[in-house]
Symmetry: C2
Subunit: 230 residues, 2 copies
């Protein structure tokens, strides 16, 4: 018998791999995607294509107006940096408390759908320096939700699954490829064009590109015309 | 010098008292109110009146569509119970993960406004049985946000202040009255009419009414016509 699991899917490479992993573990995936006024809202369209291709029956698109909070290059009129940002601390693409907000909404959606297993594609290796992607945060948050929800206090405790948290980008791509993920549909770029083609220059594009190279797998990403690599 | 504090204000008795306490402790209050498609959305109007009366300069109304999640008598077409609900477990007015979601958004708003002190009017004494109002949840959540935010990991840790968590309703009313709170503006009823007048029968009305009686303070609540007490 399959067990239900809620998977948070952005439409990017990491969360799509996480969805494939949940399916491979014989969970029946329920998917939630956040439409948070992100500049790269073509991500949401990518997520819909992915759940269709992967035969996911329940896909909830949840609107949450993070632009009301602001302060990030992903939602505001702040330029997405196109030079290398490594080792410069928490970047301008940080959206204050984004994963905390998304996780809270996911838990709520899981609870009303009687789901205890929640999969999220956070990663603490080849990441952009976001504190809400670290294992110690996930562990503390799981504890909090099990103390603060009807489900948690009734004995149906939540488990936050983070199957790619310790993997390098190359390992994530290898894992997903073995599970049949079509990465051409996924969008990682912080600043794609209106057709969903990647800029090739932002932090996220750079990490993704390197991942494919290290994994020895052909990069199927659709790049904007004229993109060259340093 | 005053220090900024973010206060979560619903427009009810508890959170309004919490706002008065934050002011009395010499914090400069920033207020956030959640417009969550609650049936009693007259609460939001009450919150606006309260911040005007209390000379609060920054009042953020944050829209969050919890009706998308559903499952509660406060947001859905589920009848608000009008008989006594005490000792019957978690009631139908429970909104899955509501405080977790509100706290996450509050933390995010605090972070972009460079605020570390957050006041919330949760109460674990005369309460409706919501697990996200308990001290052990608040403590675990504070730990999680300090691990998962830029502010927290940079040394500017958040403190969640819950000044009324251990008070009875009567004690809350006494405290607020001493601080000059005008309770006639606050709305506690789960099912008020369009003019903001209380039903006098729901769980929240009953607890409020008893509080005024026990405190020996005249109840200034505006009730619907014909309301009598059992």
């Amino acid at each position: 018998m399959t067990k239900k699991a809620l998977v948070s899917l952005s439409g990017g490479l990491d969360s799509t791999t996480t969805l494939a992993i949940a399916k491979s573990k014989n969970f029946e995936p329920y998917v939630i995607t956040f439409d948070y006024d992100q500049k790269n809202d073509i991500e949401v369209e990518a997520a819909k294509t992915i759940t269709n291709e992967m035969n996911v029956e329940s896909h909830k698109i949840f609107p949450i107006r993070l632009s009301e909070i602001g302060g990030s290059a992903l939602t505001d009129d702040i330029e997405v940096p196109k030079d290398q940002q490594k080792n410069k601390g928490i970047p301008v693409t940080y959206v204050a408390g984004r994963n905390i907000i998304f996780l809270s909404l996911a838990v709520s959606w899981a609870e009303v759908n009687d789901i205890q297993d929640i999969f999220i594609g956070v990663n603490s290796v080849d990441y952009s320096g976001y504190p809400d992607c670290r294992p110690e945060f996930i562990e503390a948050f799981q504890k909090a939700i099990n103390l603060g929800t009807k489900s948690g206090v009734s004995g149906d405790e939540f488990t936050l699954h983070t199957p790619i948290i310790d993997l390098t980008k190359a390992e994530i791509i290898q894992t997903g490829t073995e599970l049949g993920v079509d990465y051409s549909q996924t969008i990682s770029c912080y600043d794609p064009d209106s057709r969903g083609r990647a800029c090739g220059k932002c932090d996220s594009c750079r990490m993704r590109k390197k991942g494919f190279i290290k994994a020895g797998i052909k990069d199927p990403t659709r790049y904007q015309e004229g993109v060259k690599y340093d």
